[in-house]
Symmetry: C2
Subunit: 233 residues, 2 copies
């Protein structure tokens, strides 16, 4: 960090000098974890160089005091970018989509009304899709590894919830190519990590493939170079 | 709706003419319901005139086919504003905070970094605070009215989760006046509906009042004229 104090347009810019020297964004997380993957996909779409700082989740490193200084709830991801340190994957992807609006893929649309539609479907992902997708993937993929009996009631109810959500998506995607409109956006990107878990790791691909438009949408968004790079991390 | 077709800067503006004639934003919801209240608080802060279109939730009007045309998941609120119809309260408050950035209270800060911090705490509200607050308020306020026995395990676990969340808030608010920084923002506003249920209707005020900075924060944000107007709706 270069410690220089001078003014540009009346503001001290020592931190900016530090940024220029450090350059690379630090993404604290784990390559297999869903929420860091969401952020990585966004950074690849926006051509933002970053370094993945591995947090050993199985060793509980995210619950240790030094990590709790970065994230008081002890979860991943956390971003360190110059003087800005913050967490929550969907806050992070909004920040980079807006900060680099003119660089890489446009992920927020051209107008406030575009963004409103994108934000609506991003909230649908966060509040309708995410919970049953997480619960289902956790029960199928991790419960036994953690010494728990998979909860069949949770599996059943999660699948029922996802069925309803994906029926709404099928209707939406019969009318527009992507959730947020005719272009790929944060609303689609945010689905990649858990949809991947369900389709490729949990044997639940039929939930997607049995729906014509959802299936085509998934083939499209999961074929993007950004997502392929995430899976190679 | 005035049907005129002409061009401004190359774009048809018949819908804009319709907007000028209609003017008032329609907020579909119910005056007592948390998520419509979140939107109403934002609209008051931004001095945006609106009309509350009552949806009779006890009669199940939100599950009827005509309402499902507006909101495929059958929930409130829904906004109709000129040609834009959309749902999800946190998408709606982001839209109005940005659309009327220079009008009423600034709810998104002055820089992208301000907004990143606000978005982080808005996500904390949505993903850490909201679920236990909803579950606790539902069990205490509505379970018996709906003929269910209140689930004591849910009450206990929700209170435990909220205790941890509010401990993090106490630490944060010991360092900054509001969650998003030194100014009131969407991050604070978004807490008003469920915190009000817990404190004023569910007998859980001690969760807030036992924490010095959380208590002062609540007294501050719940005293805002916008929130008082919401409660008078």
């Amino acid at each position: 960090m270069v410690a220089l104090d001078f003014r540009v347009r009346g503001r001290f810019v020592s931190s900016v000098v530090g940024c220029i020297v450090r350059m690379v964004v630090k993404l604290h997380g784990a390559a297999f974890a869903a929420c860091p993957r969401r952020v990585a996909a966004c950074l690849y779409e926006k051509n933002v160089e970053f370094e993945l700082v591995n947090v050993d989740l199985f060793a509980g490193d995210h619950k240790k005091p030094e990590f709790l200084q970065l994230h008081p709830f002890g979860l991943v991801p956390v971003i360190q970018d110059c003087d800005l340190t913050f967490f929550e994957s969907r806050a992070i992807i909004r920040y980079y989509a807006e900060k680099y609006a003119g660089q890489g893929t446009d992920l927020l649309g051209k107008s406030l009304e575009d963004r409103a539609t994108i934000e609506q479907w991003l909230e649908v992902e966060a509040h309708y899709f995410n919970e049953p997708a997480f619960s289902l993937a956790f029960q199928v993929l991790y419960a036994e590894k953690l010494g728990q009996e998979p909860d069949l009631n949770v599996i059943k109810s999660s699948e029922e919830k996802l069925t309803k959500v994906l029926d709404v998506y099928e209707e939406r995607l019969s009318k527009s190519k992507y959730l947020g409109g005719e272009f790929f956006s944060l609303a689609d990107l945010s689905h990649l990590p858990f949809a991947h878990y369900l389709i490729n790791d949990s044997g639940k691909g039929y939930l997607f493939h049995d729906r014509k438009h959802v299936s085509a949408w998934w083939e499209d968004i999961s074929s993007r170079p950004s997502w392929k790079k995430v899976l190679e991390l």
